[in-house]
């Protein structure tokens, strides 16, 4: 095995809202802005669609970091969806912290359709942060190991 393959690469799941962040990711691509290939994007109709279980499940199945991107507060396509997301995720992340789980592995970021550059920089920054934390052990499920 080459040295390159042995290097630890974090697996990151990004939930992106269809109306803002997913388009932002598209723009980052069109503008040829680089962001890590370890970021796997899952498109959701609204950031509010993301059930806390989605996030925990991603971790359970081996994700090292989960980031949730949505429209800026006040800009939600469905008017108020992201306000609910904000409250829910605040509570969920605080609970992860309470259980002694590194809360840096989770993040919420508001990225609009025009912010391709922000999308790329957010992903670069988050991937760096997660890589520095190393493989996710506290959130992994032994039964889900390949």
């Amino acid at each position: 095995m080459s040295e390159l393959n042995q290097e630890y690469k974090p697996l990151i799941v990004a939930f992106c809202c269809n109306w803002c962040s997913y388009a932002g990711a598209d723009l980052a691509g069109s503008n040829r802005l680089a962001y890590p290939a370890d970021v796997k994007i899952i498109r959701v109709p609204c950031s509010c669609r993301v059930n806390p279980m989605f996030i925990l499940r991603a971790f359970q199945r081996g994700a090292d970091g989960v980031i949730l991107c949505g429209c800026h507060p006040g800009d939600c396509h469905y008017t108020t969806g992201n306000y609910y997301t904000r409250r829910r995720m605040s509570m969920l992340f605080s609970m992860l912290d309470y259980l002694g789980i590194e809360r840096e592995r989770t993040r919420v970021e508001w990225v609009s359709a025009a912010e391709g550059a922000k999308f790329a920089s957010t992903m670069n920054d988050f991937a760096k942060k997660v890589a520095s934390l190393g493989p996710n052990k506290r959130l992994e499920d032994l039964r889900c190991k390949p």
Partner: protein
């Protein structure tokens, strides 16, 4: 020792059955053991006289049973509620899960309930008989010749030691006097955990939650868990295994369980009471309550029957998730 006796309750219930105000009574009867008082439905005065009990082991919160019983039974149901149970009752009304006109609530005073987990810590296993006397409990075990005396204070459930309220927030009539909301220091234990390092917290919860056998008793008893179909009944839920793996699966189950009632949990503590593994589950729910109080303003679920729960509400200036760590005090 409770301040009202079984006889007073039976007399009042029989009278209401006889004059036709109610068609059934929701109360407690003796289960298999002295310390196992289980919820029961009574429809005649004879049944009440034969089986109804109210003592220090009647910790069960009867409000959830209204959900099913008000659909099965025609007419009003008489239900005896302790102060903390009335909060759950109000919460069920808020969520339109029960109708006020189907229930006749008699508020019963409660001086704190005894808990078998607390008693076992003092006497050990093999509890055969428990006598409730004026001065305290006399616990007969298989392995001791003489009964062990336990005071009511020591026998009390953890949730009752930090009782939040002796006030009935909903009732049709009250037995005894109206109590007050107490200054309970119930968040002290949460604060103690928050003050630990992440590694210590992880070790603590690993130790507690890895005992979970997914019996779902915490869900079944919870008056806030009223979904007809539950995510945990899905065999592909990802948390369905019964043998503890000692990894994230048990934690995921408990995070989701607590999250589903976040903002609606009245902190009645039933989850911890029924846990066969004695896991302090109420500490997870309390964390959410404490976070909500600190971040979105003081909120007591079930205080009145017309509140909007904080997690189905928002303001435009809520703090960002990155700013809410340990209840919004520290910044990431």
């Amino acid at each position: 020792m409770q301040t009202v006796n079984t006889q007073t309750l039976i007399e009042r219930a029989s009278a209401l059955l006889q004059d036709g105000t109610v068609s059934a009574v929701l109360g407690w009867k003796r289960g298999e053991f002295d310390y196992d008082m289980t919820p029961a439905v009574f429809t005649t005065a004879e049944e009440l006289a034969a089986g109804f009990v109210y003592n220090d082991f009647c910790g069960a919160n009867l409000s959830k049973y209204l959900l099913k019983k008000t659909r099965e039974i025609q007419g009003k149901i008489l239900v005896f509620l302790k102060p903390c149970d009335t909060y759950s009752f109000n919460q069920l009304l808020t969520e339109h899960r029960i109708h006020r006109e189907n229930a006749y609530v008699i508020g019963v005073p409660c001086s704190g309930m005894a808990d078998i987990h607390s008693i076992r810590k003092i006497t050990g296993e093999g509890i055969a008989r428990v006598e409730l006397t004026e001065g305290g409990l006399l616990v007969h075990t298989l392995y001791d010749d003489a009964p062990v005396a336990v005071s009511y204070e020591d026998a009390m459930a953890d949730r009752c030691k930090t009782c939040k309220s002796k006030k009935h927030v909903a009732y049709d009539e009250l037995l005894g006097e109206e109590g007050d909301v107490l200054d309970s220091h119930r968040f002290d234990e949460v604060a103690k955990l928050e003050a630990m390092t992440p590694d210590e917290r992880f070790a603590f919860w690993q130790g507690e939650l890895s005992r979970c056998i997914r019996c779902n008793a915490c869900r079944d008893v919870c008056p806030a868990c009223t979904c007809e179909k539950c995510v945990f009944d899905n065999p592909d839920s990802g948390v369905e295994n019964k043998a503890p793996g000692g990894d994230f699966e048990e934690k995921m189950f408990h995070i989701i369980r607590a999250f589903h009632v976040a903002g609606r949990c009245t902190d009645c503590g039933e989850c911890s009471r029924v846990c066969p593994q004695d896991i302090p589950l109420h500490l997870l729910n309390r964390k959410f309550i404490s976070d909500i109080n600190k971040t979105y303003g003081e909120y007591q679920a079930g205080e009145t029957a017309d509140q909007r729960p904080p997690l189905v509400n928002f303001t435009q200036n809520d703090p960002e998730p990155s700013d809410v760590v340990k209840g919004g005090h520290d910044h990431a």
